[in-house]
């Protein structure tokens, strides 16, 4: 087993508990399941792990129509039928019509790969169950070729879920689990620092304060998350908005600049305008 340790990268701030889960998964060669609010960097984690450990990276994005079989291989029967009618010579070898899936590709990797199974909850309820044996033993059987494909090196499997569906117990039992909490102010400062190094202290402080204030507003349909904050700061920088604009007295009297990056729902913007209207009236 490898002795690699993941401890965050210069672009990704990993908390202690996240590192514990990822390292346990690397050491024991079992998948790690990552859950959390949207926009807290679940998908990015896998990329960063691959980069930090310098491993080949395979992504498998799950959609509602994805079947477990798609990750293993697909037998393109229609192409074979067509070829047979056209009298193509390739038709004799069934191998020509087996299309490899992401899992197979990862299994064949020369070096230990990182495999991301993104948003596993999007697929059908039975999907995780269909992958149990494959992820447990890291092998599967190809019926058409009558042979077993086995992983050369157990991949580091990172699975993300948005919690749209409950995952089956049998599946959960085989994973390590981590829930990415929404970062606290201290961690958030580190995250912003990592993305925009040398950001003016005042601007950062004001931006964060505004951001957490927005998050605290009761009744928002979609609270802004880390990725929205980062986008917003990018906009602030691009427009060269001074920290004073955020800090000034009329913060309570108008929407924060570039609010479109933070509030993604017209009802939320509306709610905000009403709050500001109330503030203004109270101030009088």
């Amino acid at each position: 087993m490898t002795l690699d340790r993941f401890s965050g990268t210069d672009r990704y701030v990993a908390t202690e508990d996240l590192m514990a889960a990822v390292n346990a998964s690397i050491t024991l060669g079992r998948p790690v399941l990552i859950k959390g609010e949207p926009g807290t960097g679940k998908t990015q984690l896998a990329e960063e792990v691959a980069q930090a450990l310098d491993r080949p990276f395979y992504e498998w994005h799950i959609k509602s129509t994805t079947k477990a079989q798609h990750g293993l291989y697909e037998y393109d029967a229609v192409a074979r039928l067509r070829d047979s009618q056209l009298g193509d010579g390739r038709v004799k070898d069934i191998r020509n019509y087996i299309v490899k899936g992401r899992l197979w590709e990862a299994f064949e990797s020369e070096r230990q790969p990182v495999l991301l199974i993104d948003e596993i909850d999007k697929a059908d309820i039975e999907f995780p169950n269909d992958l149990l044996r494959e992820l447990d033993r890291m092998e599967f059987y190809v019926h058409e070729l009558k042979e077993t494909v086995q992983a050369r090196l157990r991949p580091i499997v990172i699975i993300t879920s948005n919690n749209e569906k409950e995952l089956p117990d049998a599946f959960l039992r085989r994973c390590f689990f981590h829930y990415i909490r929404f970062p606290d102010q201290e961690t958030m400062e580190r995250i912003v620092e990592v993305h925009y190094p040398g950001l003016k202290k005042t601007l950062l402080a004001e931006a964060l304060r505004t951001f957490f204030e927005v998050r605290e507003v009761q009744g928002l349909k979609k609270k802004p998350s880390t990725s929205e904050l980062l986008d917003w700061i990018k906009l602030l920088l691009a427009e060269d908005i001074p920290a004073e604009a955020l800090a000034s007295e009329d913060r309570r009297k108008s929407l924060p600049p570039m609010h479109g990056a933070l509030l993604k729902n017209e009802q939320d913007v509306h709610l905000f305008e009403q709050l500001i209207f109330l503030n203004r009236r109270n101030a009088r």
């Binding site: 514990a20 346990a24 919690n163 390590f176 689990f177 829930y179």
Partner: protein
């Protein structure tokens, strides 16, 4: 020793399996989680707990277990009852101070701080903890505490750093049926899935294509099948206005989740109790009403009936003709309820009020009896029980 921990987790209702426990031991054998207690805590949590809703419970058990170990090897831990602490705090803090603390993070924080203060103090004065029992009314005084010295408001951040991770119990509000978002509701509603193929033929049926191509002597014959849909039909009745205003958000979420989950969803609004007519559009509730009789005739018996309402009203509104607060009803609400229930075999009532409170409102009891006790709270676990009942 960890075996005991394992059983403690299980008796706390955490679904920890033997496999997971063995995984934890294996991980520890590989040198993980041996650095310090925090590291072990994180490792154990990610191995044994697979649902963030259980984090809080895990934290509690871990805290107890850890303190238990301390009591074997370390100094005697002082177990201070919370209400005792609370009273002490009330004795020692002026209302203004309390308010300041409240604004800084609430009473719970204060409790933690006080608890910790006591423990710190105890370490400095050997054997001092015995004083708690004997010092009578003023244990804080015995430890050299006075309201001025406490100054909890000022070093809120310092004590936070000192507190154990699991003792912070940051996952408290993720526990069980507190949070109910659209997504959660969808998960619960998903129990009501029964797939069937219906409608236009738009998917390639590979097996059938191959079979029929072979039968045609190799001439490609494409076969299509309709897409699979959830075949469950739902009739949703929503109570609107009055006491339901408190629950608008919850109902909104339920509604939007249900709407995307069921292909056949019909919804109607009513106020407090169902009478001879219901409506579809709240802005035109008086102009465009649908007679309940028509609903009964239009939608077949295979529809599943879901009422959503707090069932909080005067009992007259259910059992007497003319009891409605909005109009004169010729027949009592209970009769209309009965008609609906007779027509639709599977029905549930979802109540956004907490279950403990149901017994205090007679109308809730009345409706619950009418529903033959198929009333469930509008929480995740309630929804799941309800959906099970409907299947």
């Amino acid at each position: 020793m960890l075996v005991k921990f394992f059983y403690q987790l299980r008796s706390a209702g955490l679904p920890v399996s033997v496999t997971e426990f063995l995984t934890l031991l294996e991980a520890m054998k590989n040198g993980l989680g041996s650095g310090d207690v925090d590291e072990f805590y994180y490792l154990a949590r990610s191995t044994l707990v697979k649902n963030e809703a259980h984090f809080d419970r895990f934290d509690k058990v871990f805290g107890d277990y850890y303190r238990g170990i301390e009591s074997v090897f370390g100094p005697d831990p002082v177990q201070l009852p919370d209400d005792w602490l609370r009273r002490q705090a009330e004795l020692f803090l002026s209302p203004e101070e309390r308010q300041r603390i409240e604004s800084l993070g609430g009473f719970e924080e204060l409790m933690d701080a006080l608890k910790q203060r006591l423990e710190e103090q105890k370490k400095r004065h050997q054997g001092g903890n015995r004083m708690i029992g004997t010092a009578g009314t003023s244990p804080f005084g015995a430890y050299g505490f006075n309201p001025e010295g406490v100054r909890i408001g000022q070093d809120g951040s310092r004590h936070r750093r000192g507190a154990k991770v699991w003792d912070r119990r940051e996952y408290r509000n993720l526990d069980d049926d507190v949070q109910l978002g659209t997504r959660n509701i969808k998960i619960a509603l998903r129990r009501l899935r029964r797939f069937a193929r219906q409608g236009a033929e738009e998917e390639l049926d590979l097996d059938d294509t191959i079979r029929s191509t072979a039968r045609q002597g190799g001439l490609l014959d494409i076969r299509m099948v309709p897409e699979r849909h959830n075949a469950i039909k739902v009739l949703l009745f929503l109570d609107i206005g009055g006491s339901m205003d408190d629950h608008v958000r919850l109902c909104e979420e339920l509604f939007s989740a249900a709407r995307s989950e069921f292909k056949h969803l019909e919804y109607f609004y009513f106020h407090n109790c169902v009478y001879e007519s219901v409506w579809r559009d709240n802005r035109r509730r008086h102009a465009a009403r649908t007679p309940t009789m028509e609903v009964l005739r239009t939608y077949g018996r295979d529809y599943k009936l879901i009422f959503v309402g707090d069932a909080t009203m005067s009992p007259y509104e259910i059992i007497y003709p003319g009891g409605s607060v909005e109009h004169w009803n010729e027949e009592p609400g209970s009769l209309w309820m009965q008609r609906l229930l007779d027509n639709y075999g599977s029905a549930v009532w979802l109540n956004p009020e907490p279950e403990q409170r149901w017994d205090y409102t007679p109308s809730t009891g009345l409706l619950r009896d009418l529903m033959e006790r198929r009333m469930f709270p509008l929480t995740i676990s309630g929804l799941e029980r309800g959906m099970k009942e409907l299947m």
